[in-house]
Symmetry: C2
């Protein structure tokens, strides 16, 4: 027997097939953000979504070293103390898992079975990646920057440390941060303690946790997480298109109160203040629409002002007063950003179940 | 249509039925403790298991009031400031969900589908419940103490605030704490901010979060969470037996590294240090046994010393050096406590899927 016996290519669920034991193992480890937590401008760490590919590694901040090398004039090694001396910048960022919404697709790609909760917003503190690269000095042959974390495992037969690459332009222009604090405290273990990358606007797969190496290479990175995983494909054998920035999405705090098991919602008739958040990794949110009749009629929500200039890719709050009448109602919302992207009522299917920003639907019984 | 249409009695999964959409909704909200986190003596808050029956309520510490009334000489109301003036005690407690292990049962009771990760250990700071009851003065007709949280919802047709009762003796003798800090910081929202009950040794359902009322009553409490839910039944129509203290359990940190999807483990041949934690709510752990051949032979693990006298119901670390030879191996562990309780290889089935302390099994490929 070998590793390949236990680490196979993903499959699609059969028609009507329930969530599998493998999917449940992932769902019991990783977690989304309960949607009532949309009420917090900044998500408390234990409520922020978490996706860990392998195990949370045992790490030690005192001994941690980050290497910056490859196609640079001067390879550098930083401990936490040296990194802190490079500067201190705090940015509010909304991160979302590229697989958010996967488990609602038909057919369902079998992997981490997210519904719609794989999101969170935090204030990350660290140093700009571009400052580290400038200090090391990019050589003229630099093409991609490869980020390596300390989490180790196997995926579809490939043993690996978690690694992702960005082009030199993306690494610099994205405003990526090498961060050691989340919401003013050291990173929690599951969020990358003691050091992680945070790439504002990009799906979470780019923000490598437990970051120990930044290597500049002279060719396009072809590692597993760039070349095999995290690509939009309609067929398993397509080369696919790389996943980059977060598509626009709006989510409501489900109003009223729930049934424990079905999560069905109940509210009393009258004016029901609806509240939610919307975000896009491409451009600031410009508009959010709310429908309380399953998408027949749409109403413009009141958008909050952005919190400050640095945070234009963090989520924005919206509100709408619903005059709720007795009976069952389906609430739905959609976001529009300044790049012209609009959230679809139903996003196109893809083989990996990625970037599914299909509009949320909440069924509410008004009593 | 009414609430009852959407809030029905639980059922058992059919043979071979995958995890349902309802179960997945709960699994995406609530989360276990990834088992590699057993390495931490005290679980960081975002890794500690979380089970929320309804929604995490919006709360405000500055305005929070806790009422103590009913069969007492002097009804009392405390704000956070007054409570803090009553004393400050910190206890390390292992909490486990009564439903831990539910999803591994055959047939599977449909509810929050825990595997084995619904556990965590924290240092809780607050005031002894017995001090509050003494100050209020228990009347001679006092029988039960009812704790009410601020989370509101419906369960099997019953609209309710989450409530649990303890007998007066249990409330005093358990060393229960009314806590406002977890691991030295204010309670995170999902753990009961700003105030919760912590009942050492008891399954988590007793430790009412978002605690706003303590009422002493002159009869046995017959609320939903005591009289209907959280009972051991073999048949849905049994009155059942109330769930109280945590049964003994040992869990290993899964050794080596995992496959992302199957979570199958791989280790290199040689000496593999196995490490884990064991706990019981009935008495201190006395002994842990490890088997590396699926339970044929058992070896005594090395138990760590208890951390201090106050923490005898917190988990204890254990270790065992495994001489791993190539091939597939099944690791399993079992705990024994000072009350004479021993962890079974397979726990008896019950209708709600509670207190399932069946021994953990980890399949490892040694290469």
């Amino acid at each position: 027997m070998s590793i390949e016996n236990f680490s196979v290519r993903g499959r699609l669920a059969d028609t009507g097939e329930g969530i599998t034991a493998d999917e449940l193992q992932l769902a019991a480890r990783n977690h989304g953000m309960p949607l009532e937590s949309l009420r917090y401008d900044v998500t408390p760490p234990g409520l922020h979504y978490v996706l860990v590919h392998y195990d949370i590694p045992a790490t030690n901040a005192g001994e941690w070293l980050l290497n910056v090398d490859g196609c640079v004039e001067q390879p550098l090694t930083f401990g936490l103390t040296e990194l802190r001396a490079m500067g201190r910048r705090t940015v509010r960022v909304t991160l979302e898992c590229a697989g958010n919404g996967r488990a609602t697709l038909q057919p369902r790609p079998i992997s981490q079975p997210w519904l719609s909760e794989a999101v969170g917003t935090a204030e990350w503190t660290g140093v700009l990646l571009s400052d580290l690269l400038r200090l090391a000095g990019l050589r003229s042959d630099a093409v991609d920057v490869v980020f390596t974390g300390a989490d180790h495992g196997v995926e579809r037969g490939v043993e690996q440390d978690y690694q992702r690459g960005l082009s030199v332009e993306e690494a610099i222009d994205s405003g990526a941060l090498v961060a050691w604090e989340m919401n003013g405290a050291p990173l929690p273990p599951q969020h990358g303690y003691p050091l992680r990358l945070v790439v504002p606007g990009w799906y979470g797969m780019a923000s490598v946790k437990w970051l120990r190496s930044i290597e500049v290479i002279d060719h396009t990175f072809d590692g597993f997480q760039n070349a095999v995983a995290y690509r939009i494909r309609t067929d398993a054998d397509d080369p696919g298109v790389a996943i980059t920035r977060i598509e626009p999405r709006a989510l409501l705090v489900p109003p009223g109160f729930p049934d424990f098991m079905s999560r069905h919602r109940f509210v009393a008739a009258g004016t029901v203040p609806l509240f939610g958040r919307a975000w896009s990794g491409w451009a600031p949110i410009e508009r959010v629409e709310v429908s309380t009749d399953a998408g027949v009629n749409w109403h413009e929500a009141k958008l909050s002002a952005p919190s400050n200039e640095d945070d234009e890719l963090a989520w924005r709050a919206f509100a709408y007063d619903w005059e709720a009448t007795p009976g069952e109602h389906v609430l739905t919302v959609r976001a529009y950003d300044a790049s012209g992207r609009e959230q679809p009522i139903e996003a196109p299917w893809n083989r990996g179940g990625f970037t599914n920003n299909t509009a949320q639907r909440i069924t509410v019984l008004v009593t």
